[in-house]
Symmetry: D2
Subunit: 352 residues, 4 copies
Amino acid sequence: MIVVMKLNAPQDQVKAVKEKLFQEGFKPHLIQGVEKQVIGAVGKQDISLLSGLETMEGVEKIIQVSTPYQLVSREAKEEDSIVEVDGVKIGGRELAVMAGPCAVEDFKQMSSIARFLKAQGISILRGGAYKPRTSPYSFQGLGIEGLKILYQASRETGLKIVSEVVSTSDMEVVSSYVDMLQIGARNMQNYSLLKEAGKTKKPVLLKRGMSSSIEEWLMSAEYILSEGNPNVVLCERGIKTFEKYTRSTLDISAISLAKQLSHLPVLADPSHSGGSWKLVPWLSKAAVSAGADGLLVEVHPVPSEAWCDGPQSLNFSRFEEMLRDLKPVAETAGRTLPGSESLTQSLKEGRQ
Amino acid sequence: MIVVMKLNAPQDQVKAVKEKLFQEGFKPHLIQGVEKQVIGAVGKQDISLLSGLETMEGVEKIIQVSTPYQLVSREAKEEDSIVEVDGVKIGGRELAVMAGPCAVEDFKQMSSIARFLKAQGISILRGGAYKPRTSPYSFQGLGIEGLKILYQASRETGLKIVSEVVSTSDMEVVSSYVDMLQIGARNMQNYSLLKEAGKTKKPVLLKRGMSSSIEEWLMSAEYILSEGNPNVVLCERGIKTFEKYTRSTLDISAISLAKQLSHLPVLADPSHSGGSWKLVPWLSKAAVSAGADGLLVEVHPVPSEAWCDGPQSLNFSRFEEMLRDLKPVAETAGRTLPGSESLTQSLKEGRQ
Amino acid sequence: MIVVMKLNAPQDQVKAVKEKLFQEGFKPHLIQGVEKQVIGAVGKQDISLLSGLETMEGVEKIIQVSTPYQLVSREAKEEDSIVEVDGVKIGGRELAVMAGPCAVEDFKQMSSIARFLKAQGISILRGGAYKPRTSPYSFQGLGIEGLKILYQASRETGLKIVSEVVSTSDMEVVSSYVDMLQIGARNMQNYSLLKEAGKTKKPVLLKRGMSSSIEEWLMSAEYILSEGNPNVVLCERGIKTFEKYTRSTLDISAISLAKQLSHLPVLADPSHSGGSWKLVPWLSKAAVSAGADGLLVEVHPVPSEAWCDGPQSLNFSRFEEMLRDLKPVAETAGRTLPGSESLTQSLKEGRQ
Amino acid sequence: MIVVMKLNAPQDQVKAVKEKLFQEGFKPHLIQGVEKQVIGAVGKQDISLLSGLETMEGVEKIIQVSTPYQLVSREAKEEDSIVEVDGVKIGGRELAVMAGPCAVEDFKQMSSIARFLKAQGISILRGGAYKPRTSPYSFQGLGIEGLKILYQASRETGLKIVSEVVSTSDMEVVSSYVDMLQIGARNMQNYSLLKEAGKTKKPVLLKRGMSSSIEEWLMSAEYILSEGNPNVVLCERGIKTFEKYTRSTLDISAISLAKQLSHLPVLADPSHSGGSWKLVPWLSKAAVSAGADGLLVEVHPVPSEAWCDGPQSLNFSRFEEMLRDLKPVAETAGRTLPGSESLTQSLKEGRQ
């Protein structure tokens, strides 16, 4: 920690700061410069102390030297973490592609999507049963009914299930149906929810808040890890900016940076960030090239009839096309598409 | 609703859109222009329909005409709403000033603050018992213990209590101790929490999310009203921008605009927005001049020893000075300070 | 300057950094902590050196301790600067209110506005002759013709003239007609223009760029002062944010902060920031309460016929009403309205 | 254009708006809905009229239907434009990679860089002779001396030159030395400069302003085209957001969108956007995957000694590595690296 003193702060103020630092277990060093006096105090960081220091007489500002996250940091663990969702690995050589509709609508819908995705080699099905909607008058999700439909679709196809949990009181029931919990952008700083998710030990897909810095995002992951659950997958889904042509701005650098700063797997959500199906294939390729470990993609059999997020959903043929386009890009990143080995196998067989 | 068709969209696509609108209960009108074809369909808004339309062939974009909020809108209720917190009115001629520390620390602290505030004419005491903190390693609040301390301080002084609730599972216990529930910026789109707050009928102080548009903020208030609780007070607390010299950017226009768009009372939080006690008096005066119905201010006996948010807390003498400065500004806005009538009375008595 | 070394940076890297600092005239101090090694080097700041350091082996980051602006800083000059525009003082007890239309349209318009403003006590007339417009197909201003009209209106009424200069090649001609040069938000980082404005010695009204930090804004003022022109008046006009209900977000804290960080006068532009005449009176009062030394307001006889910015322009009666409302607020800030002393005088005379 | 009338606007106000529209050459259509009255007026857009309408009695808001840009739009020209820089094609199958240092320092530096780049197959050399710097005390570029050095390096190697012009008064001299003019982010809305650049007919590299919307960026390109110069290449270089870990946020969607909305070539600047050489290879690959026609990359022989932007510059070996990594990604996008055909040729020859 660095304490910058005000220009011409008198010696008794400097002394008071040094003493306080000493009492708190730091070893303070005064650096007397021509313009400013600076007190260096490298030690275990303590945020509450920091807050007190800033209001002491003569102090201009406090500068933090260390990053505040610990368990999630690359410094804590050098090698990439691989998170397993009931046997499906996220963070390894195979890209993780989670796909499905914005909202679970009915069993027929989910079943047709699940069977289609399975045929494409996809292993994880997404679908919202509890929907956080801006308007109380919008469709709020089917709730438990939706979870049951997801579960049925999973049993039918073997796909793993990821679905959003929006409240601590639903944590138990959601956990009992899904293989992976999703914490959405609007709840990224709902710390009660993060702590509960930390206690479940279920894999957690943690979306970045629309206005959360990379540091805040990693700190939210730290909440989950610090409760004893290391199975966190980060997901960049776009941030709020002044730009109006897109729903939000996919922060492509955040993908590369999160990979550098943390050992956790990082996915991208090309559907919510752009808000338009036309951007999805481009953003998907870009994200994989930037180092993403996978994608979260909205797919719907008939987007124009989707109960929500239709404009950003791919229909079946567009999703297939996207995967086809993505394959060579994935390969340049040393990655394979989900199920691609068996796919290649079946293609070979088909050729005989 | 306005549907803008693509340049040269063929007639069958135009027809299909018109038919869909007709089926959904709209009366569509085609406007044939030299450059674009536009279909006007003024009717009850339906967001799920809107989403479907955008993906129909030939459609370029959909433009919404009506605002999506209803119960909170000025159109729904022309006169200003006054929200009562156990007898204390918010939204009337008297400014509402809620003050207190960031976090409840111990009874001695709260008691001294409460007695000080009472002497200043303040009627509502704030203090965090459940703290949403960016780091899991920061002080998280005293929880129920903190609520009990607040309650004791309230019994001792008669001050009303406002305190934050961060989880649906704490709603019952928090409600039983406080006079007004606070929903913080990070939980502004925690819809489960909003719905629960709507069911309690307790007055709710709803802070604007750091990256929430004015529309999203009003929609979150709509959640609470639509559950049957009309007692919502809005609070602008600064938004995230690129500026680094302040903790966040107080959106002063949002105060004036929220008053124009909605009938609900609107407060400002000059402490969190600027992040520095030096800005608090300036932002307080500006907010009242912009039409705010009151303020939420952090006050601590010794800010340099505060467990959180010390740098933005006023000490007692600075708070007194701020009130003194604020008084004439309040008067220019046709407002009185809290307790100012009795204060004038005591001043008169003092003069005899 | 503080150099934070990477965790476990070997001693030869630390030594290399210390030597480089020493060669550049700094006195480096190593602080050996439990987690990080930090090198303190308080000295004259040198940005080009800083850039080299950051890429040396073992260096994690460089932290600047001093502010980069010098001549404009409060540390350089403690008392408030007063800028004179041909005898009219900006930055003193009397608020500076500059008013007029977005664009100069014709002499009749300017003359009627100038005479109206004079009757209100206003001393400085604004009006654009060169307009920076987003679209090349929008009206670009009357150019020299517009300057001549402004000059005539000035001769007729004695009002001083402020008008925007958008190009170094127009600097001479604009300077010869106006009393104060305006540098607009879009040109705040047009450094060629700033340098030219610095050479003229004319008073300069420097608007904050829509996405410029307070620091960048002060640095742009530093450009003008460092060319030998101390007559700079800052003007906050709103920044770009995600909010869509306003044209831009008036950064009210920036007004208070600029006054604390710099000795230069600071105005607010309530017209461009909100983008709506309905917000102008509220934002004007808020700005003055936040410490602004004056306002830049768009006024037009018939806003619905204005060639640009009609929606944010006040008509005459609304401007009068705004001044009337502003007067008591100004007084609470220890300020007078322009011309208010003579106004009071004439009122007194009227009473006889 | 759509005019939304206020709830319950009386018939005479509706009539007045319709008449005004009629007089301006529009064919107005009233759509009477249950909640709102809306007047559709599809016709040639006229921004000055629009501004007047918004202030008419009874009008709630105006909604624009058409995009304001014309010459640059995909609707105006369906096929991709290819811009030639003295024979080097930008926008075709071959990626355009422009590389070089932030600033021209001396001939030895430029010569070594130019020869290195040539050996890598690069055809366009960048280097700043006029530098727009935040601080007046930072190095401002060598000016004409720098242009002469660039020119010499160009004659020596045959590389084409792109360099920034920051002032209309330098336009002639800069144009006489360079093959392509760069207009930087800070000058994207310096309309005088855009118009002058439009008159030169030189190819122009137009960087997106740090806070400019995609629409404003395209409108700035429209300025150049409307002066008769169709040779514009767009360059996304990152926008300002709240995120502090990166210098700015590369808006990857803007690349894909600009390609959809306009026929002009679009480059990405991975150096300025991220602000760190560690991000450059990742952002480069992402940009090409998102559809970019090329890159603008900062390269310096010894970044730690660069006079500016060292931290974001690649040294020679890192640039080579980046190109090697980029090659397969470019191929998946149906692209080739610059000089790759001749490179392949020379490689073949080398093998003999």
